[in-house]
Amino acid sequence: MAFKFRREGKDLAIYISGVLTFHQHKEGEQLVYQITTLVDNGEVDVVRMNFAEVLRMDSHWLGVLIRILRRVKEKQASFVIEKPNKDICKLFDIVELNRIAEIRP
């Protein structure tokens, strides 16, 4: 898996790729740290996570997303998940993630 950041003003776009499982737990911690640091410093108003290149994901990474989402909302910023594939949409549906996060096809 890999991720890269792109800043556009106070928008932060994160492009993630690959298969996301518990095996990449260190990368997950790193991602949470990097995003929450920017949000805590007030440098970001909108966090957009682009899932177009994510093939599959497990519950560990749902936990990662929820941790980021909570911190973003605490700081009154916005959180958007973009372009998840149908397998990942199915996982989001199971846990009803759409009730707490904006998901854009």
């Binding site: 499982t21 518990f22 497990d58 519950s59 560990h60 996982l91």
Partner: protein, 156 residues
């Protein structure tokens, strides 16, 4: 024929064989701890698992959640996995050495018997087990906490 991932001692291989040998097996594999921590292992299983029996995205989630449970919470050194077909059901079994710790086994037993709200705060893996409960028809755990079995309804 058991597909081997990593190196198993003769004693472990024999234990896996004794615990999991059946006549109606679709797929059987065994993993050492290093293989369980290898992120490519799940893809290798998906690549070699017989097609058309179970939705591949469901199988991915089941494997990811059960392997995570075995290595992160169950402290498994060795894991056996097999799939069997019965009328309208695919049975996916995970046999681990050593057995799950008592607390993990008890919490999983409570959760799978429907008392999930009572043990949510202690549920190993957070969202993993609730996801499994949504994907499969039934989950059973052996009395000695060594085997987790998931029953998946299929059309075939």
């Amino acid at each position: 024929m058991t597909k081997m991932f990593g190196f198993l001692s003769t004693a472990h291989a024999q234990k896996i064989d004794d615990a999991m040998s059946r006549s109606d097996i679709l797929y059987q594999a065994a993993f050492d701890r290093q293989a369980l921590w290898d992120p490519t292992t799940i893809d290798k299983i998906l690549g070699s698992f017989p097609k058309g029996f179970i939705d591949e995205s469901d199988l991915f989630l089941i494997l990811a959640e059960c392997i995570a449970n075995a290595v992160l919470h169950g402290q498994a050194e060795v894991l056996g996995f097999h799939a069997r077909q019965r009328a309208g059901v695919i049975l996916l079994s995970f046999y681990q050495i050593p057995s799950m710790q008592g607390r993990v086994g008890v919490v999983l037993s409570l959760a799978r018997s429907g008392q999930i709200k009572e043990c949510t705060t202690e549920l190993p893996g957070g969202l993993g087990f609730p996801i499994l409960l949504r994907l499969v028809h039934r989950i059973t755990i052996s009395n000695d906490y060594s085997k987790l079995q998931l029953w998946v309804r299929v059309n075939k």
